[in-house]
């Protein structure tokens, strides 16, 4: 499904290499976790895949179901089925959360040549999904992420994911700023979306999120490369011994 080969990325404004050849393949139904110390390039990978400006791809490829992601605009990548749950969801004053969700759902449907969702149908679906994530009517009415707590913002990301039904979900440090209860709620939301046809890439510093969202594969990223891959036990190893041992071992 998601195929990344030898991906190399520099910052556009300065001559600084961030990703130095990343290889990763995620198949439908699989959950992959990327762990790694600060500055290893984890978040950059998520931004480059979703099309954020400020980065220059200097080598390698990234495809989603054999379609070249890197050539597409961010909105085209979204319509193709890619979704990034932001580490820091953006507050948008003046745009109602409901309007935002409906605009996004219908924009993607339109891009794929599908029929737009009627207001009534949309309302029904969004209410049901919001309820599962304990998102109340007030949060749906308020401007996007305005005045939301850290946990509310992350739940709102998962709600968007649930509404947009992407093929490939990238979660960028979704556990940051969450207490245990909020993390559980978010993880339940994610787990509910796990399915045969959908891939997940979970980026995190800590093993604790992986207690709730159980990965099939764990990768350790350091200095712009994936330096070690393994099963869930790799996350426990990081938790117990830190990154230093692993990095020393691969050096």
């Amino acid at each position: 499904m998601l195929n990344i080969k030898n991906l190399q990325v520099e910052l556009e404004d300065e001559d600084k290499k961030i990703l130095k050849g990343v290889d990763l393949q995620i198949n439908g139904g699989e959950v992959h976790a990327i762990m790694g110390p600060n500055g290893s390039g984890k978040s950059t990978l998520s931004y480059v895949l979703s099309g954020k400006g400020g980065y220059e791809v200097t080598g390698g490829t990234a495809t989603l179901e054999d379609v070249d992601l890197l050539e597409m605009e961010p909105e085209e990548r979204a319509a193709a089925g890619l979704f990034l749950a932001f580490q820091y969801p953006v507050e948008i004053p003046g745009v109602g959360n409901m309007t935002f969700l409906r605009t996004a759902v219908n924009a993607q449907r339109k891009a794929r040549g599908e029929e737009e969702m009627s207001a009534a149908e949309f309302l029904k679906v969004v209410r049901a999904k919001a309820k599962e994530l304990k998102i109340d009517a007030d949060m749906l009415k308020r401007p996007v992420n305005m005045g939301f707590s850290g946990g509310e913002k992350k739940r709102n990301e998962i709600l968007q994911m649930a509404m947009l039904e992407p093929k490939m979900c990238i979660l960028d440090e979704t556990d940051s700023g969450l207490d245990v209860d909020a993390m559980k709620l978010v993880a339940e939301g994610v787990n509910a979306l796990r399915s045969e046809g959908r891939g997940f890439l979970v980026i995190t510093h800590y093993q604790r999120l992986l207690d709730h969202i159980k990965p099939d594969f764990v990768h350790i990223m350091a200095d712009g490369r994936i330096v070690k891959s393994g099963g869930p036990e790799l996350a426990l190893e990081v938790e117990n011994n830190g990154y230093a041992d692993i990095l020393a071992e691969v050096a």
């Binding site: 979703s50 099309g51 954020k52 400006g53 605009e73 961010p74 909105e75 990548r77 979204a78 319509a79 990034l84 932001f86 969801p89 953006v90 507050e91 948008i92 004053p93 003046g94 745009v95 309007t99 935002f100 605009t103 996004a104 924009a107 993607q108 891009a111 401007p143 968007q160 947009l164």
Partner: protein, 426 residues
Amino acid sequence: MSEVAMKEDPTEAMIASLSMPDSTWGAAAREDALARLRTIGLPQRRDEYWKYTRPDTLTQVDAPKAAVLQSDEEAMFEEVDRLRIVFVDGVFDADASDDLSLEGVTIERLAAADSDLHWAKNLYGVLEARGQSPVQRPLAALNTAFATDGVLIHVTGKPSKPISLIYNHKSDTSDAILHHCIKLDAGAEMTLLENGPAAARFNKVMEVEIADNASFHHVRAQGRDHERRTATHIFARLGTESAFHSFTMTMNGVLTRNDCVIELTGDDAIANVAGACVGDGDFHHDDTVFITHDAVNCNSRQVFKKVLRNGAVGVFQGKILVKAGAQKTDGYQISQALMLDDDSQFLAKPELEIYADDVACSHGSTSGAIDEDALFYLRSRGVPTDEATNLLTLAFLAEAVEEIEDESLREGMTARLGAWLERRSG
């Protein structure tokens, strides 16, 4: 004055080109206004309040031509149940207008109101004259002297529907001067709607006297024709516990100057003035507001938002004057511009002048571009760039549009602004 000298003086040249309409009760007010105009002269570029807006095309004898826009778009407020009063290039159109009778209000045309003891005698030119100090407003004096028509509205109760002034534009050389007087008795309430491009050049004055406990709602849409030029003045005086709400949406127009002069003379009164404008290319929009607090515990708000692109220019000159003794004044003023490119310009001059010691006044002015983070967030959810930009632009304008109290009018305005943005994207 010699023939040659007269030609050199733009004020005298303008006066010579116009003829004062016959008037019974209004004759003295018109003569007074003419004298005021002669004393202060038409605006010039060196005048402090015309520094950012060139007055030339408003003061030259002949109105510059303005093409009449052929548009399929339905006019504003069509869906609103209202009493329609139609002017075409400044001339009253009886056939297109409704019967001017409505319970709780008397409506007459300025040109037809000839009884010598008319109530408007105490209003016509009166608030305009008061509004000439400390800032001179010569185009308003010109208007009082030479207005050819207008409406005189006396609100005694609470009319069941809004009164709607519709200004159609059919001649590309029309030069219209209209003057309205609106008087609200104690406890009365009315909504006034205005829309339409009016004329190639339009000079309009509206004087509004609001008695105790009365409230006046004004929603205006200045739109359509690109080449039109407009100078408008609102002069309002508010009594105790009265309210004044005015919102203006402006789309297109090479030159629009909207002056709003408000005096809060009774305690506990409220005055809100708001504007949302969208300009593309050859567009110059100037909001000049002067609010005087001369009573205790009054509240005033000025909320102005401008969206500018392709070299459009926005001007805001807003002043709050708090007189000695106007304690517990709450004055708020915000003016913001969203620049959609590097070619546009926003010029703002916020002013506060306060002579009382127990007041809360705040003002702010910003100009900026679209928030890139918000734009990427929307795009990452599949919303195309143009649609995302329009959504963020409407959100920017929302704070001003929300000043309209009536929900359906508010939604109508938002829809209209959205359609304008959509037409211009891509």
